[in-house]
Symmetry: C2
Subunit: 205 residues, 2 copies
């Protein structure tokens, strides 16, 4: 069976360890991170097609007209977007593709891709979340408090997601997400062709 | 988090290898098979509470009156049933409990336990199913044909299930079922208490 990949919409609290979980999914499970397109200039070391797809404003706007983006936005004078073709080619090739976005983008993507999995990653507790933000040691107290405030608002967005995955141990969290993807592949509505084949198989025997 | 177990309703074609998959789930994943109650006499080697819960007709009928069964039926003059208390105690203790039943019983159980997972196990193809039935070498051609006929009817019942799991390699099939159970535990409606706790956590910080 040549199975299509799953589109995984991933959101989560800042400090929940989303980045580490994504790295684990890429390294241990062969997942792909969706590569964004942008009109901003490449920084040193950034590789076209890996870090970003670098586009001119003309190219980007042409793609917008052609409905070439799953979602896009303007930020500090530059365009950023998720190219439809890249994601769909990868899904067609059977790759599971991760899209790291916030709730509004997530809901937009879900409308276009009803089979996409909306997953929210959280720390085991609020205390742990705060401890992780503080533990990074790179953020000022002010930034930490701002992130905690943002997180306390995001709680209200959690109920928009289909799955809540607790990131206690990163290996476990990545395995849980992979289980969600496997379960999705076993859902009845993914197996209708298979059932039809089976039905024909019995008719021919 | 003290997590409740999942109730797994398992059906599948005769010859799909359901028995082997169940054994794997018990041995490698610690799942429990629901123990039935019956009024038939114990056979040699059968142990009360392991093979069956052996009951007198009076005891059984008393349990029926008390709504003590998830489902029950009469067969060749004896009662057979799934005791509610046993299953619920195990789920409460966090055990995943397997219930091997046919479609009508499955739908009845699902009505009582909406969180139960309805899983149908199938062979990779009709040819493979037939080959497995023939390969057993224990069944007459007549029995094999009867089973294939029954299976061809069961195809129409497959769409009543939530998940279709293909048993190509038994280890993979058991792992897929375990993934479905893990994914269920991550579903939003299983995490509402956790979200409420998180909300309170932010209020208290």
């Amino acid at each position: 069976m040549n199975q299509k990949g799953s589109l995984i919409i991933l959101s989560g609290f800042s400090g929940a360890g989303k980045g580490t979980v994504v790295k684990k999914l890429v390294k241990d499970y062969g997942y792909l991170i969706s590569v964004s397109a942008t009109t901003r200039k490449p920084r040193e070391g950034e590789v076209d097609g890996v870090s970003y797809f670098f586009k001119t404003v003309d190219e980007f706007e042409h793609l917008i007209e052609e409905d070439g983006f799953i979602e896009y936005a303007q930020y500090v004078g530059n365009y950023y977007g998720t190219p439809k073709k890249y994601v769909e080619d990868q899904l067609e090739a059977g790759k599971n593709v991760i899209l790291e976005i916030e709730v509004q983008g997530a809901l937009n993507v879900k409308k276009q891709y009803p089979d996409a999995l909306m997953i929210f990653i959280t720390a085991p507790s609020v205390e742990e979340l705060k401890a992780r933000l503080e533990g990074r040691g790179t953020e000022s107290q002010e930034v930490i408090e701002e992130r905690m405030k943002r997180a306390s608002e995001e709680v209200e967005e959690m109920t928009q997601y289909e799955y809540i995955v607790v990131n206690d141990i990163v290996e476990q969290c990545a395995a849980d997400i992979n289980s969600i993807v496997i379960a999705k592949h076993c859902e009845l509505n993914q197996k209708l062709d298979f059932i039809e084949e089976t039905r024909k198989g019995f008719a021919n025997i």
